[in-house]
C-alpha cells in the first residue's frame, strides 16, 4: 500500500542525533521509500482560497499551529505496521511527529498521472497542500473540472503530480518520547482543516499561486503553497 508520511515539527519533541540521510538510505535500499523532500519554514507559506467570485491570497499558513509540516515522504509498505516501522525509525519521530496517511488512488482519466521523476532530486519547486475547510460553504469539485485543471497544468508545466489521501479518520500519528514508541489515531495537529491531498507545482511563485487559484479544491477548501529546499548540499 502507498502511504504519505508528513514529517512535522513538535515543540514537545526531544533532541535526536541520528541523521535523516541514514534513514533515507535504509528505506530506499529496501525499496520501501519512493521519494521525499524537505520544505522551507511554514512562515513562507502562501495561502489560497476561492470563495465564489472572490480569490483570497494571503501570506502565512491558514492557522498558527505549534506543529507544522516540514517535509513529506512517499512510501510503498506492505501494511500499516511496516509504515509505522518506517515512521518510527525516522529521527523526526523523536524530534517531531510523523503522520501516516494512506493514499487513495484517484483516476482522473488518461494522461492525468504523475510525472515520473528520479530519486530525491526535487521534482518541483513547490508543494501545494490541499486542506478541507469545514467553515466554507459546501462545494463538491466536479471530477471533470479537476481533470481539466490537471491536464492544463501538465501542458503548461505547472503540475508535476499529486497524491489524493484517504480521510483524516484513517490517519495514524507516530512519536517517540522518553524511549517509548507512541502510536495514536489522528493527524499531526489538532485542527479541523485536515490535509486531503498534495500536489507538486513548478514555476515561479506568482505562476504557482495563479495555478492554485484555479484549483477546483481551493473553492471548497484551503490550498497552501510551500516551497521545497532545492539546495540540498
Amino acid at each position: 500500500m502507498k502511504y504519505v508520511l508528513f514529517v512535522a515539527t513538535d515543540p514537545a519533541g526531544e533532541p535526536a542525533d541520528e541523521n535523516p540521510e541514514a534513514w533515507v538510505e535504509k528505506w530506499n535500499d529496501r525499496g520501501v521509500r519512493v521519494e521525499g523532500m524537505r520544505l522551507k519554514p511554514v512562515t513562507e507559506t502562501t495561502t489560497v482560497r476561492v470563495r465564489g467570485d472572490r480569490v483570497l491570497v494571503t501570506d502565512g499558513p491558514f492557522a498558527e499551529t505549534a506543529e507544522w509540516i516540514a517535509g513529506y515522504d512517499l512510501i510503498e509498505a506492505a501494511d500499516l505496521d511496516e509504515a509505522i516501522e518506517v515512521a518510527a525509525s525516522h529521527p523526526m519521530a523523536t524530534g517531531g511527529r510523523i503522520e501516516i496517511r494512506p493514499v487513495e488512488p484517484l483516476d482522473l482519466g488518461p494522461g492525468t498521472g504523475n510525472v515520473p521523476h528520479e530519486g530525491d532530486a526535487p521534482a518541483s519547486r513547490f508543494l501545494g497542500i490541499l486542506r478541507t475547510d469545514p467553515g466554507a460553504p459546501s462545494f463538491t469539485p466536479d471530477p471533470a473540472a479537476v481533470a481539466h485543471w490537471v491536464l492544463d497544468g501538465l501542458a503548461s508545466g505547472r503540475y508535476l503530480g499529486g497524491e489524493h489521501l484517504r480521510p483524516v479518520q484513517d490517519a495514524t500519528l507516530v512519536r517517540r518520547r522518553a524511549g517509548e514508541l507512541l502510536i495514536t489515531d489522528g493527524p499531526y495537529a489538532d485542527v479541523q482543516e485536515w490535509v486531503s491531498g498534495i500536489v507538486f507545482i513548478d514555476g515561479e511563485r506568482e505562476e504557482a499561486i495563479d495555478y492554485l487559484t484555479r484549483c477546483p479544491m481551493a473553492r471548497s477548501g484551503i490550498a497552501e503553497l510551500r516551497e521545497f529546499w532545492t539546495d540540498l548540499s
Binding site: D79, D81, R166, Q169, D170
Partner: protein
C-alpha cells in the same frame, strides 16, 4: 439422534460465548473483509439452531460453526468472482480448507482489534463485538451509551482497518511485547468499567466477566508473557471481592471493612497462584497483582503484610512515577508506620497535577488526621473529598466517615 431444544439452545449459547471470535476471525483471515466476517458468523450461528435440532449437536460445535461460516464466505466470494472476475480471492479461501488452531485465530483477532492506530473507544467496542461476540445493544447497555454510538465506533474501526492497511495478525516478536501492553490496557478498561463503572454505584458483573475471559484467553495463548498472567491475576483477585464490596444499600465497603468470608475462594486461589508466577518478571500488572495477592492472603485486615505491600509499591514506582500509585503507597506506609507517617508521605507528594481535583488525596489526608485525633482538620478534608467525589456511592462513603467523626467535626 435428535436433541431436546433446550439442550441445543444451551449448547449454542455456550458455543456463542466460546467460539464467536474463532468463527469471526477465520473469515477475516481468509477474506480480509470484516463486514463479510460479521455476516458469515451471524449466519453460521443462525443456521446452527435448526440444523442441530434436526441432526443433533455436532461432536465439535466450534468446528461445525467455523466450517459453516467459511462455506458461506466461499459462496459469497464465488458470486463476487463471477461479478468482478476476482478469481484469486475465492481460490485463497478454497485453498485454506485446513482451519487454523482456534487459539491462534482468537489471538490474531484480539491483537488486530486492539491495534494502537485505532481510537481507544473503538478498540474496546470492536474487541467486545468481534472477540467477545457481544451485540452492539449489549455493549451500549454496558457502557451506558447509545447503540448508534457503538455501531459508529465499530464501523469506524472496521473502515480504518481496511483503509489504513492494519494487518490481521499477531505482531512479530520485535513488536509483540509493546503491542501486548495495548491489548492488556483494553481488557483492563473493559474490566474497570464493569468493576467500578464511571456512572457510580452498580457493578456490572457481565462486563467484568467478559474482561476476565479475554484476559484468560490472552494469558493462555501468550504463555511467555508474564504481564498477561499478571493482568489475569489482578482481575481475578479484584473480582473475588465483588460480593463483599457493596453493602445492602449499594454503598461501597472499603477493603478494610469487607467481610472476607464473602470473597470468592476459588478466584483467590487461582489469582494468588498466578501472581506468584508473574511477580518475579515484574511488569506493572504483575506487581499490582502481587499487591492484591497480599490483601487476599490476609485472613483479617489487621493481619495484612503492609511492609510487603510498601515494598511492592516501591517497585511499581521505580518502573514509572505515578502520583496515584504514590498516594496508594502513602496509605500503605500509614498502615505500617502510623497516621503521622501517612500524613508525611502525602505531604511529600506535593500537589502533582495528576491529583488535582482527585477525591482520594483529601480523603487519605482526612483518614490520617482522624487517626491522629485532629477531628476538626479531618472533617474539613472529608468535606473537600465529598465535594469532588466522582459518583454518589463514593460521596456517601465520605458523608458516612464525616458523620462518624461525631460532634468535634
Amino acid at each position: 439422534m435428535t436433541t431436546g431444544p433446550a439442550e441445543v439452545r444451551a449448547t449454542l449459547a455456550e458455543a456463542h460465548r466460546g467460539e464467536w471470535g474463532v468463527v469471526f476471525g477465520t473469515v477475516v483471515r481468509l477474506t480480509g473483509d470484516w463486514e463479510l466476517a460479521e455476516d458469515c458468523a451471524q449466519d453460521a450461528f443462525a443456521r446452527a439452531l435448526p440444523a442441530w435440532e434436526r441432526d443433533g449437536v455436532p461432536r465439535r460445535p466450534g468446528a461445525w460453526l467455523v466450517a459453516a461460516a467459511r462455506n458461506r464466505a466461499l459462496d459469497v466470494l464465488r458470486r463476487r468472482t463471477t461479478e468482478r472476475g476476482k478469481l484469486a480471492e475465492a481460490a485463497a479461501v478454497e485453498a485454506a480448507r485446513e482451519p487454523a488452531p482456534p487459539g491462534d485465530e482468537r489471538l490474531r483477532l484480539v491483537f488486530t482489534c486492539c491495534h494502537p492506530a485505532l481510537p481507544i473507544e473503538a478498540r474496546v467496542a470492536l474487541t467486545l463485538r468481534a472477540v467477545g461476540g457481544l451485540t452492539t445493544r449489549e455493549i451500549a447497555r454496558a457502557f451506558l451509551i447509545g447503540e448508534d454510538t457503538v455501531s459508529q465506533r465499530i464501523l469506524r474501526a472496521k473502515r480504518k482497518i481496511a483503509a489504513a492497511g492494519i494487518p490481521y495478525r499477531v505482531p512479530p516478536p520485535g513488536a509483540r511485547s509493546e503491542r501486548l501492553g495495548g491489548v492488556l490496557a483494553v481488557i483492563y478498561l473493559v474490566f474497570t468499567e464493569g468493576y467500578a463503572p464511571s456512572d457510580g454505584n452498580t457493578t456490572r458483573d457481565a462486563l467484568a466477566e467478559e474482561a476476565i475471559r479475554l484476559a484468560r484467553l490472552v494469558a493462555a495463548e501468550a504463555p511467555d508473557e508474564p504481564e498477561a498472567r499478571g493482568l489475569l491475576s489482578l482481575l481475578l483477585l479484584q473480582h473475588s471481592r465483588r460480593a463483599a464490596r457493596l453493602d445492602g444499600d449499594g454503598g461501597l465497603v472499603t477493603l478494610e471493612h469487607q467481610d472476607r468470608t464473602r470473597w470468592d475462594r476459588a478466584l483467590v486461589v487461582e489469582g494468588v497462584a498466578l501472581a506468584r508466577e508473574a511477580a518475579p518478571a515484574g511488569g506493572p500488572y504483575a506487581i499490582q497483582a502481587a499487591i492484591a495477592a497480599q490483601h487476599a492472603l490476609a485472613p483479617v485486615a489487621a493481619a495484612t503484610d503492609w511492609g510487603g505491600i510498601v515494598a511492592l509499591y516501591d517497585r511499581l514506582l521505580a518502573l514509572r512515577t505515578n502520583p496515584v500509585v504514590a498516594l496508594n503507597r502513602a496509605v500503605a506506609v500509614g498502615m505500617r508506620d502510623g497516621p503521622q507517617a501517612q500524613l508525611d508521605a502525602v505531604d511529600a507528594l506535593g500537589a502533582p497535577k495528576e491529583l488535582t481535583g482527585n477525591h482520594a488525596l483529601p480523603a487519605v489526608r482526612a483518614d490520617a488526621l482522624r487517626r491522629l485525633g485532629r477531628t476538626r482538620d479531618a472533617a474539613k478534608m472529608y468535606r473537600v473529598a465529598k465535594s469532588v467525589a466522582p459518583n454518589e456511592a463514593i460521596a456517601r462513603e465520605y458523608a458516612r466517615r464525616l458523620a462518624e467523626l461525631g460532634p468535634g467535626g
